[in-house]
Structure formats: structure tokens, C-alpha cells
């Protein structure tokens, strides 16, 4: 059912290069989910997120001090190794310090001829953020128009909004199925889908996703769902890990299913839609990016993510949460003790794992299994 998504995930470059040949459109690689994809679609430019390849590498040390997260270095390595030479541009919406180094080093050493740093506001809880962001979008549009070779109209923007919203809607509808007692789609499969979103034209993604949605209505997985687990994280496309823990049940006495995630490779990326009731499309887009579930680096002075995480945990009836932190991720590290305490105070046990580019399969399996067993023991008390 998800073969197409897996293919897109594993062969992203083939798809993206082929897309250019097929459509004649330009492609801009972006680094952070605060990049307004709607605006690129409005200009007929395909925005693709750049993720790492989970391979150890030795090319970024001259460019990024190794105390910055492995993810940003993995991302930069893709550029340095020439895997993205077909890009027409790169862009980033400002959030954390780590990832912006992948952007700036790429800009210095592998500049595709067009690059843009959007100062996405950090004070998203202030009423001043939206008017500021709208003006920033106007500056961005001027630059995008240079790349696209044409003007962008409000109707183009509305079209871009529609393209992104439709993909978001279908993903949320698919996620509904994960609320079932025996979810017909595993966490691994869902992850392939959400990641495939990054690498494809949302309009080509949509019909395949719609097919999945239809199929899920009658699909039954022949497996014991085990414990219902939620992942809370920074940036994670650690499909290897998810697959390993979801197949634990085949080998051990406990198993689990990842039923929902709160990180920027899944729900923080697609959950919030642009409100089409707002007349001015540029303001509508700005409202969406300002009010979406924030990256921890923007989640102050109130820690609004706590409520969001709890809501998801309750809606998806999770038994426990695994906090998967990208090693060295400062914004997330500042939040973690409070997230764990909040979840535990609300009856959701948590476990913490620190991730790197490659997954230490053995040790992580043992620890996750032990965590799942503690969830078992809690039930036995009653």
C-alpha cells in the first residue's frame, strides 16, 4: 500500500530530477518547515525539503563545528557530496541555529544561484508577528519572482494554499485511522508517507494518498498492535528505529505500534492548515505559520506545545511516549524535562532516547523493550 511512498523516500533524487525534466519547473531545496511552501507553489516552483541520508560522513567538519546537531551536518553533507546539484535554489525559514549553518555553508560552497534566508519571526505569541511576516513575505516574493521569471498574483497564492491544504487534509484523515484499536497503518508506513510529502509535488502526492485513505477503510493488519506509543521529538525520520520497535512483538513478549508523533517530520509539519476564510492570501499564510504548533525555539513565553502534545496523546489514546531527541538539539533539550514531567503528571509514562545519524539498533531495542514492559506492569496492578 505504501510502496510508492517508500519509493519516493528512497529515490528522492530520481523523482526530483525527473520532475524537472518532465515539467520544466524549477526546484528549490528548503531546510526548515517554516519555509512557506505555498508561495513557491504559487510560482510554479517545487519546494523540496532536504533531509539527511543517515550515513556517517567526513565532509562537514571543516564547515560546521561538531557540537552542532548531527542532522544539520548530515543535511550539509548531501549538498557537499553533490547529491543536490540539480537544485535551482535553496531557502530557509529561520528557527534554530544548527540547521541554518547547513543553509549558510551550502550558500557559500554549493550555491545553486539563488538562495533566501527568511527571518521567520520567533515571537509567534505576539500580535506583531503576523504583520511583520506579511512584509517579509513581500520581500521573499520579489526574489521568487526573479527566479520564476514572472509575477505572482493573489490567485496564484490561493492556488498554492489549496495545494498545501489538500495534502494536509488527507494526511490528517489518514491519521484518524491510527486512532483505532488496531490501526490499519503502522507508524513506519505513516512515516514513509509524511516524508514522501517533502520530496514530491503535493499534487502528485495527493491522489496516491487518497488511494491509501480509501484502502485503509477496509484494511486489516494481521498483527498484535501491542502498546500504543507516541513519539515526541525534534527532527526525526528514523524509520529504521520505528520499524524495529514495531516488529519487536514478533521477537519478544511485548510489542508496540507508533500511533502518533509530535515532531517536525510529521504533525508539526502538516497538521495546521491555512485558514481560507481570511481574504488576503498572504496574511492567511502568515497566520498559519505563526500559529502552527511551534518549534520549541519559538515556543515562549508560554510553553504551548505541552497542551498540543497532551491533546494528541489523549486523542490517540497512547500508553506511553518516547521522547526521541536529536543529539545536541538545544531547543528541544530546553523543553524535555518539562514535557516529560507534564506527560507523567497527566498519566502518560515517558522514556527518553538520544538519536544520532545512525541508529544503535541493539541497545535501542533493549531499552525500548524494557520501557514497554514497564507499561505492561502498570496495567497488571489493576
Amino acid at each position: 500500500m505504501i510502496e510508492k511512498f517508500r519509493e519516493w523516500y528512497e529515490n528522492r533524487h530520481e523523482y526530483q530530477k525527473g520532475y524537472k525534466d518532465r515539467t520544466g519547473n524549477k526546484i528549490v531545496g528548503y531546510f526548515c518547515t517554516y519555509t512557506p511552501e505555498e508561495i513557491f507553489y504559487a510560482a510554479d516552483i517545487l519546494p523540496v525539503r532536504i533531509l539527511g541520508s543517515h550515513e556517517p560522513q567526513d565532509v562537514t567538519e571543516p564547515h560546521i563545528f561538531s557540537m552542532f546537531c548531527p542532522f544539520c551536518r548530515d543535511v550539509l553533507a548531501q549538498g557537499i557530496k553533490g547529491r543536490y546539484d540539480y537544485l535551482d535554489g535553496i531557502a530557509i525559514g529561520q528557527s534554530c541555529l544548527h540547521l541554518r549553518q547547513a543553509f549558510t555553508s551550502w550558500d557559500l560552497h554549493k550555491n545553486p544561484g539563488w538562495s533566501y534566508f527568511l527571518p521567520m519571526p520567533n515571537h509567534v505569541q505576539s500580535k506583531r508577528a503576523v504583520p511583520f511576516l506579511v512584509e517579509e513575505y513581500r520581500l521573499l516574493i520579489k526574489k521568487i519572482e526573479e527566479l520564476a521569471g514572472r509575477r505572482i498574483t493573489d490567485d496564484d497564492l490561493r492556488q498554492g494554499i489549496d495545494i498545501m491544504n489538500k495534502a494536509r487534509q488527507v494526511m490528517k484523515e489518514i491519521y484518524e485511522f491510527r486512532k483505532e484499536d488496531n490501526p490499519p497503518i503502522s507508524g513506519t508506513e505513516a512515516m514513509y508517507m509524511t516524508c514522501a510529502q517533502f520530496f514530491t509535488d503535493a499534487r502528485e502526492f495527493l491522489p496516491v494518498a487518497e488511494d491509501v485513505k480509501r484502502e485503509l477503510a477496509s484494511r486489516r493488519l494481521d498483527r498484535d498492535p501491542g502498546k500504543r506509543i507516541m513519539l515526541v521529538g525534534s527532527e526525526n525520520d528514523d524509520i529504521e528505529y520505528i520499524n524495529m520497535i514495531e516488529t519487536l512483538g514478533e521477537r519478544e513478549s511485548v510489542g508496540c505500534t507508533v500511533v502518533v508523533e509530535e515532531h517536525c517530520t510529521t504533525t508539526r509539519y502538516f497538521w495546521d492548515e491555512v485558514d481560507t476564510n481570511i481574504d488576503d492570501p498572504l496574511r492567511a499564510i502568515a497566520e498559519r505559520y505563526v500559529s502552527r504548533t511551534p518549534c520549541p525555539s519559538k515556543d515562549w513565553p508560554q510553553r504551548t506545545r505541552l497542551q498540543r502534545i497532551l491533546e494528541l496523546a489523549k486523542d490517540f489514546r497512547v500508553d506511553g511516549a518516547i521522547v526521541i531527541q536529536q543529539k545536541f538539539c538545544d531547543p528541544h533539550e530546553a523543553d524535555i524535562p518539562f514535557i516529560r514531567k507534564f506527560l507523567e503528571d497527566n498519566g502518560i509514562p515517558t522514556y527518553f532516547l538520544e538519536f544520532d545519524v545512525t541508529v544503535a539498533a541493539g541497545p535501542f531495542a533493549i531499552r525500548t523493550e524494557a520501557f514497554l514492559e514497564t507499561l505492561e506492569a502498570e496495567e497488571d496492578l489493576f
Binding site: E55, D58, D356, T358, A360, G362, P363
Partner: protein
Amino acid sequence: MIIAGIDCGAKNTKSVILRDGKIIGKGMTLTGFDQASAVKESLDAALKDAGIDAKDVDKISGTGAGMEEIKDASMKVNEIRAMAKAANYFFPSARTVTDVGAEMGRAVKIDERGKAIDFAINEKCAAGAGAFIEAMARAIEVELEEMGPMALQSDKSIPMNAQCAIFAESEVVGLIHAKTVKEDISKAIHDAMASRIVSMIRRIGVNEDIVMIGGVALNPGFVGCLKRELGIDRVYIPADPAFGAAVGAAVVLKEEA
């Protein structure tokens, strides 16, 4: 003129004797806790190998982590300078030299006279030094000398954890449990270490010809992985590369005199 060069390293103390710039004797001993004794023992071994007495030596040059203990040295040469000069001595075409020892990895960019232009040191992480290979050899129960040749017999690429030697060790345990053959594990270990050294070399730029000194240069598995990672056909390794820094120190003193 007879000059002795002594490298008092973290694990081994190496001495060389040069007569008019030619190597006539070598001696090595474990450094242990008593560095001063190790220095004397290693120098005695080198003198014996050269067939001369201590009084025949005109001057002594010292280098290495324990160089303060080389009391008779008329000159103390820092390791970077010693490495640079050694590479130039053995291979005048050298422009990059690496020295991977028991606990430290270094890379230096040099000019045609053997002068250091830029350098990088990796002293905070065991995963980029010989101690890593030793620990892994113990983990998979293979003799240290066999580790390198074993790695050459594998053509697999199993990625090991990017960041830390300690985690790498638990990954090796995982590989053993997954019934991975020792050759493939050995290669993965060598690849991981070579990757760290290559990362360090890239900081100063990859300029051929590349020379490797230090004990780890004797490990064919490591050398093979390094060449492949750098994408080059040839690295230059002097005979007895562990004595490289000692030779460099002696040559520096000779040139100053």
C-alpha cells in the same frame, strides 16, 4: 654529527639515531608510568642497534607527550613540527602528513621545505586513535595484528555510529549478535576510524602527496579505508612509521645546528 631523536609517546617511547642525516639505529619501549626510565631504555636500545655508545651522541632532540622527561635533550620539538619535518625527510613531495598514534590523531599541511602551514589535532575523541582499534579487537576477540588484514578481506560497508567510540562498542556487540562475520565487523571499525581521520584531514585540506606516520600506519586495513575515503590511489608510509616523529625531531635539531 650523531643526533638522537626521542619521541616519548602516550603508549610507546621511540628513539632513533641519525649519523649525518642517515638513520643508523632504532629502539622502542613501552612508556608506562616511569617516563624517564622509558626514555633511557628506548635510547639504550637504539644505541645498541646502531652499535655505538651514549658518549658518541652529539645532541639529543625530544618530542612527544612526555618530552619534558627527556632531560638530556638540547631541543624540545613540538609534535606538529616533528611530523612535518619527518614527512619532508622521507618524501620531499609530501604536502599532507597524518600521525595517528595510540591516543591522538593529527594532520598537518606542509610546504616543500617541511614547514607546517596549518594543522588539526583530534585529542578529545578515542574513536580517532589506535586505542579504538585495540578496544574493538578485544571486543571481537581478534589479535590486534590480525585486525587490519581481516578488514581487507571484506567488501561490505556497514555504517557504525557517527559520533562516539563508546557507542560504537555497543554497536559491535549488536553486530556480533546479528551473526555478522568478523571480517565485515573489522572493516566497519576501520571505516569508522578512517572516517574520523579523513574528517580531520579535510579541515586542513587534502593535498597530495599524503604521508602517514605513527603506529597505526602499519595497519593495512586502516590505510586501505583511508585511501578509499579520500579517493586517492597512493599514500606514502616510511618503513617503521612509528618512529616518524622521533626522526622528525632529530632532523629539526640537525637543521638548527
